[in-house]
């Protein structure tokens, strides 16, 4: 992966508060999900990329140039987390104004603004003042101003916030289309499922530290070295527990409510194949077999528990 974005030993302190701690990472083309709970340092990382804030130590480079750099800004689009714009302007005026600041003439700026607002689905509202926009419309406007100049790098800070399910699906499609166009897209989020839909390339931050970076499935594989949880729903959980207790792949069993048995295993593959067979042999109806670990949330939970020094 050739690096478009590069962090080299970046730390950021806000007075005594640590925002980022010695973060080194590279980001290449395609979509990268920037994950972490609130306060993990996602926005700080993005702000370092845009030059909004200067690292206390280390450096951020984009296309090999140290940020901030006007040349970098020609190739960078950024949708910040803030919800406010210049509220007195219409959506079209706002985006066209920023197009002018990106170096386009008035006529071209207007044309691009209209086109990009159409692309994000705001064609019918572009002549309304942004003060009347809903949260979802604001998210789209932010995306529009970020991509109006067709940048090579697009940074999106929590772009799903405030969107309804339909809006989220549309936003995911838009972001995926940006990645498919060969751009570098960094999407920060704490809504893990949505990141998982968009990309397998993730960066996980926790308390300002880089916990993991790489392919989601590779990171997910880390979990298999640690106890994996599988939830079994059955009307006879005690009978099923008695049958499973003899199996060597079962590390622990726990009852949850009257109809659920939680199995902890270090060999999830064997467990998945054996449990239905064992249930059938003991004539125990198995209504559902799910794993709370089978999503990005689990990866995240595992990694952050590790960072806290907790048992994973």
């Amino acid at each position: 992966m050739s690096a478009v974005l590069e962090f080299v030993g970046v730390s950021k302190w806000y007075g005594p508060v640590l925002g980022l701690r010695d973060v080194s990472l590279t980001v290449g083309k395609g979509i990268t999900g920037l994950l972490g709970p609130n306060g993990a340092g996602k926005s700080t990382l993005l702000k370092c990329m845009t030059g909004e804030i200067q690292p206390s130590r280390g450096e951020v480079r984009m296309f090999g140039r140290r940020v901030p750099d006007p040349e970098v800004f020609r190739r960078l689009g950024y949708a910040p987390e803030i919800e406010v714009f210049f509220e007195e302007l219409t959506g079209l005026e706002f985006v066209a104004h920023l197009a002018e600041l990106s170096g386009f003439g008035r006529a071209e700026a207007d044309r691009r603004a209209a086109a990009v607002l159409q692309r994000v689905g705001l064609e019918s509202a572009m002549n309304r003042r942004v003060s009347t926009y809903s949260k979802g419309m604001r998210q789209r406007t932010k995306l529009a101003q970020a991509i109006l100049h067709e940048p090579d790098v697009v940074l999106l800070d929590e772009p799903m916030t405030g969107l309804d399910p339909v809006g989220r699906a549309q936003m995911v499609t838009l972001i995926q289309s940006l990645g498919a166009e060969g751009r570098t897209v960094v999407v920060s989020s704490h809504i893990l499922d949505e990141v998982e839909v968009m990309t397998r390339e993730i960066v996980v931050l926790y308390q300002g530290q880089l916990l993991a970076q790489g392919d989601l499935h590779a990171i997910r594989g880390l979990i298999d070295r640690h106890p994996h949880h599988i939830a079994l729903r059955t009307p006879r959980p005690r009978a099923l527990a008695a049958a499973l207790a003899r199996e060597d792949f079962v590390a622990a069993l726990r009852f949850e409510g009257d109809d659920q048995l939680m199995v902890e295993t270090r060999d999830p593959d064997r467990c998945y194949s054996a449990v239905p067979r064992i249930a059938k042999e003991h004539d125990v109806p198995l209504l559902a077999l799910t794993s709370p670990d089978d999503n990005l949330a689990a990866v995240f939970r595992y990694l952050t528990l590790g960072a806290r020094g907790g048992a994973a």
Binding site: R74, Y78, F86, E88, E100, S102, Q145
Partner: protein, 241 residues
Amino acid sequence: MSAALSIARVSILRAVRRPSSWWLSALAFLPALLGAWLGAKGYGALAVPAPLLAYVAAPLLVVPWVAGVLGEAFERRTVVYWFVRPMARPTALLGEWLGAAASVGVVLLLGSAMLAVANALTGNASIGSLARLPFAMLAHAVALAGFSVGVATLSPRHPVSLAVGVLAVTEVALPSLWAPLQVVSLSHQALVLAGLDAAPLLPSLVGTAPAPSVGVALAVLAIFAAVPLGLAVRTVIDRDL
């Protein structure tokens, strides 16, 4: 430069669409009404209204209009949309200053022109005041706008109170302590430019006021705008947002 002009244009557009701008603009026309009334009663139309315009109405109009709005843009981080564009950050300040100076300048130009007309119509006219007062107030507005942009950048959290505090010191406190310090008063110098009696707002405790000088007045107005703007430019280049 085109980026600065774009920001200036948008600044004017936003000001026109903000209801508070229209309320604040009324301040610029109250001295004219007072002047017309005083003139009709046989008093001088300028004696009280002109200092009122320079010392009170202009700062009360310009500071919230410019410093309040720009400070809010920093506080709410809307300036980020400018600062991730391929332009130097000070360009945004220049654009804001140009836009603010143009918008408040027009309002004060019109308000003071009406005052000059009221003065002319009530028999106390002088061609000099008719021409000089509006342009002196325009210069006053430009300087106050620069000062306000600078203060808002340096102290975005409390720009209005800081600006009012600084003006209270330069316009009232210092000149009333020692008359030669009238020289630092922006409003005093605006009245000097207008060719009007530029007595301090409050009588000075000691000292003698310096002789009015148009050159000094222009220099003070320029310094008043340039110093905060210069500090703001230095600050904004590498400040975390």
